[in-house]
């Protein structure tokens, strides 16, 4: 009986550990997938700039075209907030829920993202913060705590 109870205890510990590992590796893969997706979304969206302004040596992103591209790539798979900095010196923020805000800025500009990370923006940049919410863990102790995945990416234009 003692052996059986010990065996059962080891079995339960191994089962919990395998469950956690399966969930954790899935979260890790989802994070990586999200990273690649928003990297591509930012790199592609930054190409949608105003050609006339570019002719004058300025990079001014066309918000509606850029947001259409980001929306197309995101395809409602995750929520996102886009921060646009360019030579118009007006910072714009667009959310996947349709919220938009703008403010006048000057470079260098100290930007703090939703997770509290601060970076100094010195030129045109396209920043995407993305998050996915859901129950990623089977274990009840983690189910309600670790229920969101966040990644952010910044595409900075360094050359003209």
């Amino acid at each position: 009986m003692k052996t059986f109870i010990t065996g059962l205890a080891i079995f339960i510990v191994l089962l919990i550990s395998a469950l956690f590992q399966t969930d954790y590796s899935r979260v890790e893969r989802t994070e990586l997938k999200l990273k690649y997706e928003i990297d591509e979304a930012a790199a592609g969206a930054v190409l949608m700039f105003d050609a006339e302004e570019y002719g004058d040596g300025n990079i001014v992103i066309d918000d509606s075209e850029a947001m259409e591209y980001v929306q197309h790539i995101a395809d409602d798979k995750y929520d996102y907030v886009v921060h646009i900095f360019d030579d118009s010196l007006i910072y714009r923020q667009h959310g996947s829920n349709g919220d938009t805000t703008s403010a006048a800025i000057t470079f260098p500009y100290s930007f703090t993202d939703g997770s509290g990370y601060t970076t100094v923006i010195e030129g045109p940049a396209f920043i995407i913060e993305a998050s996915i919410e859901g129950q990623f863990y089977t274990l009840s102790s983690l189910k309600d705590i670790k229920n969101d995945i966040r990644r952010s990416t910044s595409y900075v234009v360094e050359g003209r």
């Binding site: 052996t3 059986f4 065996g7 059962l8 080891i10 079995f11 191994l14 089962l15 550990s17 395998a18 590992q21 399966t22 590796s25 899935r26 890790e28 893969r29 990586l32 997938k33 690649y36 997706e37 591509e40 790199a43 592609g44 969206a45 190409l47 949608m48 700039f49 050609a51 066309d62 075209e65 850029a66 259409e68 591209y69 197309h72 790539i73």
Partner: protein, 137 residues
């Protein structure tokens, strides 16, 4: 003797669970590497405007070597007509790609859990679009 019999009954399940730890890690790392290879190939495709045959062959060879598969088992469906950078959102100028890579073993000791070899497989699917950076002629 009784203990030995109990041990014999429990040991295969315990061993299978221990083996699964390794397999979960292996499959996860394999998938991460496949995504990294695809990401690199997509960067080349963005410059070329499409997936060239050389790019597709190199990607297949890399994935096949990493995943220990035949190249024929990897499916790559990608645009083979050049797309151009248009500085506006135009769906027809996006490069579309779909890559399917089979994973042949998902659970270790599958027969112990009554899972057949056919059911014990999955396919990694990467299906996406990306803006071309190739300048129009």
């Amino acid at each position: 003797m009784k203990d030995f019999i109990v041990l014999l009954a429990i040991l295969p399940i315990l061993l299978a669970l221990i083996l699964n730890h390794g397999l979960i890690n292996k499959n996860s790392m394999d998938e991460q590497d496949v995504r990294e290879y695809v990401y690199s190939a997509v960067q080349i495709a963005k410059q070329d405007g499409y997936f060239t045959d050389a790019n597709i062959d190199a990607l297949k060879a890399k994935i096949a070597e990493r995943m220990n598969l035949d190249e024929d088992e990897i499916v790559i469906i990608a645009d083979s007509v050049p797309k151009y950078r248009v500085n506006e959102f135009n769906e027809s100028e996006l490069i579309h790609y779909r890559i399917e890579v089979p994973v042949k073993k998902v659970v270790a000791g599958n027969r112990l859990f009554n899972i057949s070899d056919v059911e014990n497989q999955k396919i990694i699917v990467i299906d996406n679009e990306v803006a071309s950076e190739r300048l129009a002629p």
